[in-house]
Symmetry: C2
Subunit: 254 residues, 2 copies
């Protein structure tokens, strides 16, 4: 992947694209409206096609050329809608972020704050499961679009009732998103490998005889050996995920 350089060029253009389906800045009265050729696509067409292609055939299939073919236009036509592939990826990410179904302000939600966090957790994990390519994109610091802000807003609203200080509330929300997002990404990556190699993660591990037989040095890894002999590697990914999240929530709960 090339460097991510959000913040270069015209950030206004990026923001305008991210928020294209929400409030719009007042139109520039200088510009004549109505003239010019009619566009054959919309930005959403391009974004949706990118998501679909990446879902079905992998992120590499969502190249500008492949995307153009899918849409039945010339490659360069896409650049009328999106300034670069970079920005298109940003738009794709925020689109799937915004599709998470999180209760908005005033909408009903469970009484228990942990169950409310669980909603965020489930929605985020499902998002990664349905869009495995997310694990190949830098989701950790996503563009500041409606999807990211909705997620932040929801988690903050959940934690506000806990009675923490404002700063603690914010950092607690950050800690939760950090853990949930990256653990979900890890799961998705694992699925991606399974799909690519056709064998499950467990099968892959047990097939790597060479590692344990010729390379692994018991003397240098006594703790791993202890855990191994005590059958400590039996937990499912799901169990591991929830264990970590619950311990984090335990620590946050006043």
């Amino acid at each position: 992947m090339s460097e991510r350089r959000s913040g270069e060029g015209q950030p206004d253009r990026t923001l305008a694209l991210l928020w294209r389906n929400h409030r719009q800045p007042p139109a520039d009265p200088q510009r004549k409206r109505g003239a010019g050729r009619r566009p054959s696509l919309t930005v959403d067409d391009v974004v949706q096609a990118g998501i679909r292609l990446a879902d079905e055939q992998g992120l590499a299939a969502a190249s500008m050329g492949g995307l153009a073919k899918e849409l039945g236009v010339g490659t360069m036509t896409l650049y009328t809608y999106v300034p670069s592939k970079e920005e298109l990826l940003d738009l794709m990410v925020d689109q799937v972020l915004v599709e998470r179904r999180l209760p908005g302000p005033g909408e009903p939600r469970p009484a228990d704050w942990r169950e409310q966090v669980e909603i965020y957790s489930v929605q985020t994990r499902e998002m990664f499961q349905q869009h495995l390519w997310l694990s190949q994109v830098s989701t950790i610091r996503p563009p500041v679009g409606p999807g990211m802000l909705a997620g932040r807003e929801y988690l903050l609203s959940v934690l506000l009732d806990l009675g923490l200080t404002p700063t603690e509330t914010n950092t607690a929300a950050l800690a939760i998103t950090t853990y949930v997002d990256s653990a979900a990404s890890l799961e998705a990556e694992s699925l991606l490998v399974e799909r690519a190699t056709g064998q499950t993660n467990n099968a892959w591990w047990s097939e790597r005889n060479d590692l344990w037989e010729t390379y692994f040095d018991v003397d240098r890894h006594p703790a791993m050996t202890t855990i191994w002999h005590a059958n400590g590697y039996q937990s499912t990914p799901d169990d591991a995920y929830h264990y970590g999240l619950n311990r984090l929530l335990d620590g946050i709960q006043p």
Copy 2:
């Protein structure tokens, strides 16, 4: 980034490269030794050059062509040392992983388990600070090399004394690495953006007037607005990082 397909091809070759400076499998007696042209480089030369180039000029500079030029050889020469760029990246990652200074089995370490975790935390964060490109590579499921195993081993050895069940010990270690690695990666990514744009993260945010003035909708983000008015966004990245880690450790501690 192209798809990561660890587990394809000859995994033995990959493992042999990752563990090249450790135990070696018994040499194949079939092969004549000694014949043939002498190599002008070593695998470590290539890996080190890749790390240096990525450190100094960004991950994109560490292309096979640029790397060859740096080493004064033809591009294709590199392929006698490394099967593909993919594998080279794996080797680079495990190399910086293994350079973390973590107390090995039997070596002295602090009495308090939290301080022992802090060693892992500090070393990992410093690793990301010195090799910002790590945040652009998929470190979450790194190749099974000596560096990754040393990190796992250390964390497990720390947690073994807590009296958790073997499974809990393992999942707790996973949770900690998940949090630490991804939070450190997030920090590095932020630094990368600062370096690229020449302005600090804070400056970037406050310069995005458009976001708050024209796009941000207070009614849809009451919690964010509350936190904002209560000055809840004042914490430094460092504070936020430690808050999250400490809450996780609180939850883990029996």
